[in-house]
Amino acid sequence: MREELVLRLAAKMMAPFILVFGLYVHFHGDYSPGGGFQAGVILAAAFVMLSLVFGLDAVQRALPLWFVRSCAALGVLVYAGVGFAAMALGANFLGYDALASDPEKGQHLGILLVEAGVVITVFGVMTTAFYVFADRGRRKS
């Protein structure tokens, strides 16, 4: 696929927009359809597309397997961390009211943070799964 100029250009041009859209879906998830799960999948889709066009090696140089693998774990950690942070501030586990002075702001912050955890996990999981399958296929052939 090295010679496909149109594909390579299109992929290169689209990738940043896909990434920004993914972030938009996350941060605007409070107001419009979207949220952590969708954003994580969209971010992963950008890298999957890039590795389909440019090859796995090129993408793994920018985004190595150990990194996305740690992302999968880090996201769960962030989620649980928010829960424990709320506990440390005197509320129940995952009770976001205590995270800011005003309960409503605390809810906003808490939702954003746990959704960020979901984004990181889902992104890490989807990309890792793709890397692993693609890597297997490459080594076999």
Binding site: Y31, A72, G83, V125, T128, V132, F133
Partner: protein, 185 residues
């Protein structure tokens, strides 16, 4: 149309075509979810079902080959089982409350509370997000953990460490067996 795509999936024997058709099927069901007001779900289905899962299936097909063997015997017994189960389900369906009626019991347990009170309690316009991350935060944490566990499984099965240390210098990405399983809940 969805049903036609589903039956096509059952009939075709070239697995490559089947996987592509499964992607189309996912996209169709995403459209159906939009029609039924579940925009968040449609979004997820379009991104996950039509995008990532198709790619994963294709990647797996590269590894296992894409021809399905012709079934050796006529599938009479499965057909009978399916028809009987379908009839039982249809019998159960008769008793379900009518489609789209606002007085259905599902709409009056906690849904009212979510719709009316989440404005004061959470202050987030998208109720789906509010319920997902706040009211049912425990559930979502469990889901994140499940997804994480799934990838730990995939890594253990297919990661470079799964073939033992014989790969030697090739495993230079820092991936080794104990590390891949670390942190499992």
């Amino acid at each position: 149309m969805l049903a036609a795509a589903g039956i096509g999936l059952a009939k075709l024997r070239n697995l490559f075509t089947v996987v592509m058709l499964a992607g189309v099927y996912s996209l169709l069901s995403a459209g159906l979810f939009t029609v039924m007001d579940a925009v968040d779900v449609a979004f997820t289905e379009a991104a996950v079902g039509a995008g990532i899962s198709t790619v994963l299936f294709l990647a797996a097909l590269v590894l296992v080959g894409h021809r399905e063997k012709k079934p050796v015997r006529a599938p009479v017994l499965p057909l009978v089982v399916v028809i009987v189960t379908g009839a039982a389900l249809a019998w159960g369906m008769i008793d379900l409350p009518p489609f789209g009626d606002p007085d259905n019991p599902v709409h009056h347990h906690v849904a009212d509370h979510y719709l009316q009170e989440s404005g004061h309690e959470i202050g987030v316009p998208n109720v789906v997000t509010a319920v997902l991350a706040s009211y049912r935060g425990y559930d979502t944490m469990g889901e994140a953990t499940v997804v994480f566990t799934a990838v730990v499984g995939v890594l253990l099965l297919l990661g470079r460490g799964a073939q033992g240390r014989r790969t030697g210098p090739e495993a230079g990405t820092g991936l080794s067996e104990p590390e891949a399983g670390e942190g499992g809940p």
